[in-house]
Each structure stands twice: as structure tokens, then as C-alpha cells.
């Protein structure tokens, strides 16, 4: 074909050759990408399969409703661990979210040395192994609390403190990134009406970024829900609901030892009792489900946001 054209035959011939080469390269790269993506899914699939095949048979409603039965270990559940994990998520949110979100806002609003210093330190914080944070929480909370209360010091406060610290870098970074995505004209419109920067942030920028921030928070929660190492130093674990009554209403006790799913799974999996081993698998299924729910909720939060900003 190219030979019939008189003026640009070379160009055409050359580009045909290139096209073939490029196509090949394209196909090779695409195949590699597909293989990599497929492997990632395969690994996740294997983990889930393994978990379900081991844990599904021991999954029982008892797990959610009953405390451990120390006489007959084939009975009983881990309701206190699920309860404890939820309490810990609450305490760590109370500690981690204000710092994370306000810190993210600060990164946007304040330019300059201190802001970049803060960012640098949160990046460093993000890299610190969670077990080190656990040791820190032991020294900073467990020990002083034990001295003050003449108790053990292991507590939801201590565990929530450690997990809250672990949340801060993630929440701060996502908050900052999401806030940065809010179009500048929106800010301008508010400032142009005479709003202060604070008011603009509160009434316009944050609502516009709400979905994205919620996503970040959910993902951070999903991450810390499975953390085990910091709990080894901070909550001790127990076999009861850690509650006490205030004005006749049961509330979680934050100053006493508390249980958590990852810790219970860890302990049971180390156990010689096969019933406990089986329950550890089932607990893992529950934990993964909790994390999956948080992750999916995170996706939905973002989707709602996109629709709003359309």
C-alpha cells in the first residue's frame, strides 16, 4: 500500500513499523498490568478463602452474644471482645479525630515553616511501628494510671490512646488532601461575601469535603481495628464486659482492662485448646467482616460526595 503513494512513502512505511512495535509494547505492558492486578486479587481471595474455610464452621451467634465459657470451651463466645473493639474504636476516634482533622485543616490554612514541620513529623509518626506506639502508651498512660488508681492501669484509655495516635497521620493526610481538592472559587465566593477564613472553612469547605473526610476516617478506623501489637501493652484483655453503672445506666469502663478482637484472636490462636483455636478463626472472620464493612462504608461516603459535587 505504502509503495503506491509517491510523496510520503518513507514516512508511512516507517510509522507502520513503529506502530507494530508500539502495539507489541502495549500488549506486553497491558498483560503485565493485568497479571499484577490479578495476583493482588488472588492473594486477597486466598486469604478470604482460607479464613472462611477454617472459621466459617465455628461461626455461631454465640460468638456475638456470650462471654467465654471457661468450663466448656466448646460453648461460649467473645461478645466482650467485640464490645471492647467497638469501645476502643470510640476512644481512639475521640483522641485521633480532633487532632487529625484539625491538623489537616491547619495544613491548609496555615502556610509556612511550622505547617511543613508538622507535616514532616506526622509523616515520621506514620512510619513508627505500632508496637513502639504501644510501648509509649504503656509508659505514658498505663503506668501513671496504675499509680494514681492503685489498679493495673491497663485500660480502654491506654489502648484508645495508642490507636488514636496511630490514626492521626492517616486522618491528617487524607483531610488535607481532600480539603485541597475543594475548588478555590468556592472559597473565594465565601470570602467575597465577607466571611472569615474560619467561617469559610466551617460552612463551605468542610461540608464540600465531608464525604472524602468520612472516607479517610473509615479507612483509618479499618486500619486500627485490626492492630494487635499496641494492645499487648495497653488493655490486658478480660472475659467480662468492662462496664459500670452511672445513674442506673451501664456505661463502658474506660479505666479498667478491656478486651479486643485482635487480642482475643491472638490469645486463642496461641492456646492449646482446639476449641479456642477454632474460635480464633471465627473471630478472625468477624474482624475481617468489620473491617470490610468499614471499607465499604468508606466507599459509599465518597460516592455520595461525588454526586453532590457533580
Amino acid at each position: 500500500m505504502s509503495t503506491t503513494l509517491s510523496s510520503p512513502p518513507n514516512l508511512l512505511a516507517k510509522s507502520t513499523g513503529n506502530v507494530a512495535g508500539r502495539k507489541l509494547k502495549n500488549i506486553v505492558m497491558l498483560t503485565l498490568c493485568i497479571i499484577a492486578a490479578g495476583l493482588a486479587i488472588l492473594v486477597l481471595g486466598l486469604v478470604l478463602y482460607f479464613l472462611l474455610s477454617k472459621g466459617f464452621s465455628s461461626l455461631h451467634i454465640r460468638l456475638f452474644t456470650q462471654l467465654p465459657d471457661n468450663i466448656d470451651t466448646s460453648k461460649g463466645g467473645m461478645a466482650q471482645s467485640i464490645f471492647g473493639t467497638l469501645v476502643l474504636l470510640g476512644v481512639s476516634s475521640a483522641i485521633g479525630l480532633p487532632f487529625g482533622i484539625l491538623g489537616g485543616i491547619y495544613q491548609i490554612e496555615a502556610r509556612g515553616r511550622f505547617a511543613s514541620l508538622v507535616r514532616f513529623f506526622t509523616d515520621v509518626l506514620n512510619g513508627i511501628p505500632s508496637i513502639v506506639i504501644g510501648i509509649f502508651a504503656y509508659a505514658a498512660v498505663v503506668f501513671p494510671l496504675a499509680q494514681r488508681t492503685h489498679g493495673q492501669g491497663f485500660s480502654a484509655y491506654a489502648g484508645g490512646f495508642a490507636l488514636g495516635i496511630l490514626m492521626i497521620p492517616t486522618v491528617m493526610r487524607t483531610t488535607e488532601e481532600i480539603l485541597r481538592l475543594v475548588p478555590f472559587p468556592l472559597r473565594e465566593a465565601s470570602l467575597g461575601l465577607g466571611a472569615t477564613r474560619w467561617r469559610t472553612m466551617w460552612s463551605v469547605v468542610l461540608p464540600a469535603a465531608r464525604g472524602g473526610i468520612i472516607t479517610g476516617v473509615m479507612l483509618a478506623l479499618a486500619r486500627i481495628a485490626g492492630e494487635t501489637a499496641p494492645l499487648l501493652f495497653t488493655i490486658f484483655g478480660n472475659q467480662l464486659f468492662a462496664t459500670h453503672k452511672v445513674a442506673g445506666v451501664s456505661v463502658p469502663t474506660l479505666t479498667a482492662p478491656i478486651d479486643a478482637l485482635p487480642l482475643r484472636i491472638y490469645n486463642y490462636s496461641q492456646d492449646v485448646d482446639p476449641n479456642h483455636n477454632a474460635q480464633a478463626w471465627a473471630g478472625a472472620v468477624v474482624l475481617i467482616t468489620l473491617i470490610l464493612v468499614l471499607s465499604i462504608a468508606a466507599r459509599f461516603a465518597t460516592r455520595g460526595n461525588m454526586q453532590e459535587e457533580k
Binding site: E188, A189, L193
Partner: protein
């Protein structure tokens, strides 16, 4: 009538007289304004008198500094790091850049409508109520009143009166821009700055906004940046021509378009460049 750029005025009164054929009160006065984005000298010795309750158009090729100048009038440029202004701009005789001036008050008095409609991600009602609310109004009845009055004022009421709770994003581009105008009116400014308010709109919406300006100038001083020569000629009483950061010529719109004094102005308005 003297040309400001070639002949330095001796006093403000002279300057005002020099640029005015019919006697009107001066709303905004800029004297020897220079403006810098860090090292970049964006505005050079701008002198201008903006008359009360009239429409002043700013024209000129892209990048000549029209938006920059407009944004000096409500200190929106303060938001950009490294900007610097010398000279003096007064609003009703008060120096805008005086240290004691609260930008919040200033921007309440000098409102702005932007090139692209930028409604907040909330309902139509809340968009308009936002301004009054941030300035402390909570009375539901008064807010309702303001919403209706400003929507009527921006010729949008009939189209949205049944869906005030709907998201502002559900409106068309032209409707959104009129909503943004209503939102600006809601804080009862004295001056409205408009930076190419119609450039993202279809001819019909443009026509409606031009009509609106005609109405608004009874109560408001309007400064509009536009690339559309016909629009400037239609809506404005005064026109300033900017070129490369300088104001080449300023005068009555009729005169700028029919008998410009500067060669550059003539070339520009006749479409030879820009």
C-alpha cells in the same frame, strides 16, 4: 476632557472632573495604584474614578490586568501570597488599604460575582441566606424576605420559587450565575464587581444578566470586566481600556467606542488585536 494617562492630575477633584462629563458622585477612586505579584509588576500607575450608581466597564486583551485591578477593589488579592500594592484606593473617601480596615466589612460593602458560576454545595435558599447568616441574621422571616427579594432582583424568582430547597447544582449555568448575583445582593453591598460574568453563558442568559445590570445600577455601583465589546458598549456608562498593566484610556463609553483618543484603544475596540 483630559486624558489621565498623559496628563497627571493635580488633585482628586481634577481627576474626578477630568474623567467625568456628567457630574456624578465618585464611589471609588484609585490613585497611582501599582500592584505586584511577587516580582511581577501587574498594574502600573492606575488612576481611575468610578462613579456612583453607574456601570463601569473594564476592557483589554487577556492578561492585561483587568481581573487583578478588579480584585484590588475588595482586596481579594490579599488571599494570594507575595502580593503588594502601592498607591491609594478609596471607597467613599475611605482608604481601603488602611490598616484599620476590616476586610470582612469591606467585602460586605464591595461584593463580587465571578467568571464561572460558583454556587455553594447547598440548597438555593441556603446559598442566598449564607451571606446574611454569616453577618449574624437568624430571623427566619427576614431571611425568607431577603431570599425572595434578591431572587426577584436577579430575575430568577419565577424559575426557582417552587424548589428553593433543591440543590443549587440542579440549576443551569445561567441560572447559577443569577443565583450568584442574588447571593451577592443578599448582603446588600454598595458596589458589585463582576469579572466576565457572562463568559460561561449562552446568549439568552447573557441578555438576561445585561438587563439585570440595567436595573441594578439604580441602586448599586457596578464594575464589570468583559471581553465582549458590544456588551461593554451596551451596559456601561464608563469604560476603561487596559493594556499590559496600564490603563491606556478611561472615559465615557460612547467616547471610547466612537472617538478613542489613543491609537491602541482604537485598534482594540475596532478588533485589530486582542
Amino acid at each position: 476632557m483630559a486624558d489621565v494617562t498623559t496628563q497627571k492630575p493635580t488633585s482628586l477633584q481634577d481627576l474626578a472632573r477630568a474623567q467625568t462629563s456628567a457630574p456624578t458622585a465618585t464611589k471609588i477612586l484609585a490613585e497611582n495604584v501599582d500592584f505586584y505579584y511577587s516580582a511581577f509588576h501587574a498594574l502600573k500607575t492606575i488612576n481611575i474614578v468610578i462613579p456612583d450608581r453607574q456601570v463601569t466597564a473594564l476592557i483589554g486583551p487577556s492578561g492585561c490586568g483587568k481581573s487583578t485591578f478588579l480584585r484590588t477593589l475588595n482586596r481579594m488579592n490579599d488571599l494570594i501570597d507575595g502580593t503588594r500594592l502601592t498607591g491609594k484606593i478609596t471607597l467613599d473617601g475611605e482608604d481601603l488599604y488602611d490598616k484599620r480596615v476590616d476586610v470582612v466589612d469591606l467585602r460586605k460593602r464591595v461584593g463580587m460575582v465571578f467568571q464561572k458560576p460558583n454556587p455553594f454545595p447547598m440548597s438555593i435558599y441556603d446559598n442566598i441566606a449564607y451571606g446574611p447568616r454569616i453577618h449574624g441574621l437568624t430571623n427566619r422571616k427576614k431571611l425568607n424576605e431577603i431570599v425572595e427579594r434578591t431572587l426577584r432582583g436577579s430575575a430568577l424568582w419565577e424559575e426557582v420559587k417552587d424548589k428553593l430547597k433543591a440543590s443549587a447544582f440542579a440549576l443551569s449555568g445561567g441560572q447559577q450565575q443569577r443565583l450568584c448575583i442574588a447571593r451577592t445582593l443578599a448582603v446588600e453591598p454598595e458596589v458589585i464587581l463582576m469579572d466576565e460574568p457572562c463568559s460561561a453563558l449562552d446568549p439568552n442568559s447573557t441578555f438576561r444578566i445585561e438587563q439585570l445590570m440595567e436595573d441594578l445600577k439604580k441602586d448599586y455601583t457596578i464594575v464589570i470586566v468583559t471581553h465582549n465589546m458590544q456588551q461593554a458598549a451596551r451596559v456601561s456608562q464608563r469604560t476603561g481600556f487596559f493594556l499590559r498593566g496600564e490603563m491606556k484610556e478611561f472615559g465615557d463609553t460612547d467616547q471610547i467606542f466612537t472617538s478613542p483618543k489613543q491609537k491602541d484603544t482604537e485598534d482594540y475596540v475596532s478588533g485589530k488585536f486582542g
